[in-house]
């Protein structure tokens, strides 16, 4: 019989001795090379962390492989980061170089530190979710292959964080990333009246619609969708299997940019839509990888030292961004949702 409510394993039992000894007494850190962090304690002790990219979706063989490496070079200690990279924790400096050589020989991706593109925070997609408008793992793989040179170097104007969400629930961090990839639908749900009558809670279904596009149809013991009010968020499908919304020819990807969560210099900000739709061209999503690369290259060419994507765009103005990026601006990019008014330009200050 299982023990209930015993909570997570105790972190203290899994901290390497050097962390226990210098806990809360770290003095400074530096980045000796891409993917390698050096933390120095007040005691003078140095801990090297070697950061390695992962596809997040990993087999137990992968976990066992990194355990073998951690046993050999890190006395059996390692950790994962908030962006799903692995960090090998090296307390013996003599083992750092052999570890890096081993990782290179085995084909691991060392990087993701400082002014780099780090791992893309992403979701389940077609691998395990029932509401996606695109895949997660595949798009991430395609984009990271394309941007690999920015993962294992630190040549960007500032750090660049990307998020991918496979539907408009936006699990993860897509709403607050420098560049966000979001799966979108473009056609209304298809109502299966039989399924609704069999067991959907109609008031909850009606309440799930953010634009009030769904109303009860008591005569049919079902609901009616006002298609003019529907913007295809798919929340009704989340509430009821009767509202299927996937549409292979019309589902795809939107690109949002300029979000951040750190408070450094400027307040945290949301990502903003700059491309309303790109097609789901599996397995490589070339339109998406190309669009993202163009935005990143434009940012590299134009940003000031240390400027995140959003800080750069806010400085030059969004109208200037669209000119420079040669991206079409359309009515789809003008907000018409709940908090839209604050996004309109209530000023005569703008660039031609």
């Amino acid at each position: 019989m299982a023990i209930l409510d015993q909570g997570p394993p105790h972190y203290k039992k899994m901290l390497p001795p050097i962390v226990q000894e210098n806990y809360g007494k770290w003095k400074y850190h530096e980045i000796p090379s891409p993917g390698v962090l050096k933390h120095v304690g007040e005691s003078g002790a140095a801990l090297y962390s070697v950061r390695v990219g992962t596809p997040r979706l990993v087999s137990i063989d992968f976990i066992r492989d990194v355990c073998v490496i951690a046993d050999e070079y890190c006395d059996g200690f390692l950790r994962w980061t908030t962006r799903n990279n692995v960090e090998f924790l090296v307390s013996d400096e003599a083992k750092l170089k052999p570890l890096l050589e081993k990782l290179e020989a085995e084909g691991y991706s060392v990087g993701g530190t400082g002014r780099s593109v780090s791992n893309i925070v992403h979701t389940q997609g077609w691998v395990h979710c029932h509401t996606p408008a695109t895949d997660a793992s595949g798009v991430v793989k395609a984009v990271m292959d394309d941007l690999y040179e920015y993962f294992n170097t630190m040549k960007l104007p500032a750090k660049l964080k990307m998020g991918l969400a496979c539907c408009l629930n936006m699990c993860g961090a897509a709403h607050c990333s420098d560049i966000a990839i979001v799966g979108v639908h473009r056609t209304p749900p298809r109502i299966n009246h039989e399924v609704i009558r069999k067991g959907t809670e109609i008031p909850s279904l009606v309440a799930s619609c953010p634009t009030g596009a769904i109303r009860p149809d008591p005569k049919n013991k079902s609901v009616i969708v006002n298609e003019d009010k529907c913007m295809y968020c798919g929340n009704c499908y989340t509430m009821s299997p009767a509202m299927e919304i996937y549409d292979p020819k019309n589902d795809g990807i939107a690109i949002l940019i300029g979000g951040k969560t750190s408070n450094a210099r400027t307040s945290p900000s949301f990502s903003r839509m700059v491309i309303p739709f790109l097609p789901n061209t599996a397995p490589r999503w070339p339109e998406t990888t190309e669009a993202i690369r163009k935005i990143i290259e434009l940012w590299i060419a134009n940003a000031n030292d240390g400027e995140r994507v959003g800080e750069w765009v806010e400085r030059i103005g969004w109208e200037r961004f669209f000119t420079l990026a040669e991206l079409p601006f359309s009515d789809m990019l003008i907000d018409d949702y709940i908090f839209s008014r604050e996004t309109f330009r209530t000023s005569a200050q703008f660039k031609y």
Partner: protein, 406 residues
């Protein structure tokens, strides 16, 4: 008979970034379910649509959540993923592991599951991807014996998580690892037995760099800060001055212009009361500038993603709370209990607390949780005069100054 080759997915084994397809193929050597997952996914790539059926309610005895049920939409074609449920396990604070613990996870999962995982889910959990209904209870029993517990799912407190904190960061303003561990354990009932209008998340970040993105990804964001002034090591400043342009890289980018670099004396000075503790100068010159000594955390509320009322960033409700000792955690826990109680009473079904506060107003919320309003809660005061006054505080006798009836 299922088509066994996977030409579209095979494309994703090429390239330098580690491939999830390779990972699924590795798991497929030992697991028929992983092999079939690959087939289902190949079909999704061809047809550009998902093949998982809507919803699925499964679980373990004693809990109301922790397992995400999932069924393939053609069980006859894909019998091994007919049931393909996800188990969420509570992760250790900061995702610190030893190899013994990780091997235990692998061994138990190999016995019952697909051999596939997510390390980790966005909320923080260890994700065990794909098992049959009949194995859920045995999986939980074995993981429980090995010292693990399930994470959260449904309308409950979800699995809290934290940044690496004092484990390996000189910026940490409180012990995020201990806070996360201690507070997760305090609210086990709220985590395992959904009892609220909707989900509720807590994330712990040691400083305003917010490495857990708590401000955007949790209903309650606990962000480390300090109340006194920056500590500056002038000798270390001089060393930086030889390498970087301190005025351009640090002072000119300070959001409150509270830093001055004297090129002659090579000294950096700060107007402490003007600093908003954004971390920029510390980030650029970590050897020379440290957070102050009087440390604690800012508590913010309401962060969430787009559904239903747009994405919200959390906003300040407690500018400074000490988070050093057990007693300080008690103050935080007490605040959380008041917050959840108010939300439980007023929140509509599937309404995140940020949306409940937006609908009913900060005044009602602050009164409900007995927190006094302070200017740190807003960027700027309201621009309209539509104020709700408490009518009990006013003279409602219905008479004018001369006593005549209004």
């Amino acid at each position: 008979m299922t088509e066994k080759n996977t030409p579209l997915l095979d494309e994703l084994e090429k390239g330098k970034w580690p491939s999830f397809v390779t990972e699924i193929k590795r798991a497929a050597v030992k697991s028929e379910a992983a092999g079939e997952l690959l087939q289902v996914l190949e079909r999704s790539y061809k047809e550009r649509r998902g093949h998982w059926k809507h919803g699925g309610i499964v679980g373990v005895r004693g809990y109301g959540g922790g397992v995400i049920g999932r069924y393939v939409d053609e069980p006859q074609t894909y019998p091994n993923v007919a049931e393909f449920h996800t188990v969420r396990l509570l992760q250790p604070s900061g995702w610190f592991y030893n190899t013994k613990t990780l091997r235990t996870v692998c061994d138990i999962w190999e016995k019952y599951g697909s051999g596939l995982t997510n390390m980790h889910g966005s909320t923080g959990d260890i994700i065990l991807l794909g098992c049959k209904t009949e194995h859920i209870q045995p999986i939980f029993d074995e993981f429980s014996d090995a010292g693990f517990d399930l994470g959260g799912s449904g309308s409950c407190l979800r699995t809290p998580n934290c940044c690496v904190g004092p484990g390996r960061c000189e910026h940490a303003c409180y012990d995020t690892l201990e806070a996360c561990y201690n507070i997760t354990n305090e609210f086990m009932d709220e985590l395992h037995r959904p009892m609220w209008p909707y989900k509720s998340k807590i994330k712990f970040s040691g400083c305003a760099n917010d490495c857990t993105s708590s401000i955007a990804r949790s209903d309650c964001s606990v962000i480390g800060t300090w109340r006194d002034t920056l500590r500056i090591d002038q000798e270390a400043v001089k060393e930086y001055a030889a390498k970087i342009n301190i005025k351009a890289a640090v002072c000119d980018k300070c959001p409150t212009s509270c830093l001055t670099f004297n090129a002659e004396t090579q000294e950096l000075s700060v107007v402490g009361e003007d600093c908003t503790r954004c971390m920029h100068c510390i980030n650029v010159m970590p050897k020379a500038i440290q957070p102050g000594k009087e440390k604690g955390a800012t508590i913010l509320i309401g962060g969430k993603s787009t559904i239903v009322q747009s994405a919200f960033m959390s906003w300040v409700i407690v500018p400074f709370m000490k988070m050093e000792a057990e007693d300080d955690f008690a103050e935080f826990k007490d605040l959380m209990r008041r917050i959840w109680e108010w939300w439980d009473e007023h929140g509509k079904s599937r309404e995140r607390i940020g949306e409940t506060i937006y609908r009913l107003g900060m005044t009602k919320f602050l009164n409900g949780i007995e927190v006094a309003p302070v200017p740190q809660m807003v960027f700027r005061p309201r621009a309209n005069p539509y104020v709700f006054w408490n009518q009990d505080d006013l003279d409602r006798s219905g008479t004018a100054l001369d006593g005549s009836k209004l």
